[in-house]
């Protein structure tokens, strides 16, 4: 389990700051962000994650689907 918070946070901040423009360019795609740059865009999470791991190795990256529908979850424990 590899996680480097500062770099991860910077990549995630980049994503949030550029969400609208990224969504315009690649709606519904899964994008890879590393070093605060878009590395690639793919039709599936698996394709993006496999590409990121094989090409970036231990470098930090994040993958995000550019979707206009937020995931919805109901959590209720009786």
């Amino acid at each position: 389990m590899v996680e480097n918070k500062p770099q991860t946070d910077r990549n995630y901040q980049y994503l949030k700051d550029h969400w609208d423009e990224l969504f315009q360019k690649w709606p519904q795609k899964f994008i890879i962000i590393s070093d605060q740059k878009v590395i690639g865009f793919y039709d599936s999470y698996e394709a993006a994650a496999t590409k990121a791991i094989t090409e970036l190795g231990d470098e930090e990256f994040i993958i995000q689907q550019l979707t206009d529908v937020k995931p919805l979850n109901f959590i209720f424990v009786a």
């Binding site: 995630y12 496999t50 791991i53 990256f61 994040i62 993958i63 995000q64 919805l72 979850n73």
Partner: protein, 155 residues
Amino acid sequence: MIWRVTGLPPTSPVDKDDLSRSPIHLVNGGPLISVLIMPPKPIQAILTHKGRPHPGVPTIALIDTGASLTGATPSVIQRANLRFTGFSPLQSALGSQERRVYFGEIHFPWGAHMAAPIAECELDGLPFECIIGRDTMKNWVMIYDGIAGIVTITD
């Protein structure tokens, strides 16, 4: 493949005539299956190259139509050597949260497996360590027979 599950602890495919099963098990326990959580293929290759075993983590999963994403506890994620890939914004009855998401592989008891994003979720005190969400169910036909107390999955 057709698989039947109940709210009883999963051991084997459910026999429709199994008298020990009761619909109340499904109401109280929810549909439970046994799964094996593995690292994704590229990580498996790296671990194999380094001579490190990666047998996966066997655990119990709740099939949860209320969850968009499949999830697992931090313990399962760590033991299975999953790779961090980002965050997922989640809205729930508990408010809006961001969950860490990892790349993993889920193996089902009927022999199928799939690579998937797995969100970290706390499931303290529950009889399962994994939640199968709608992102996994998108590959299934699932029939919830509450009268018989059986959920049938066709994968």
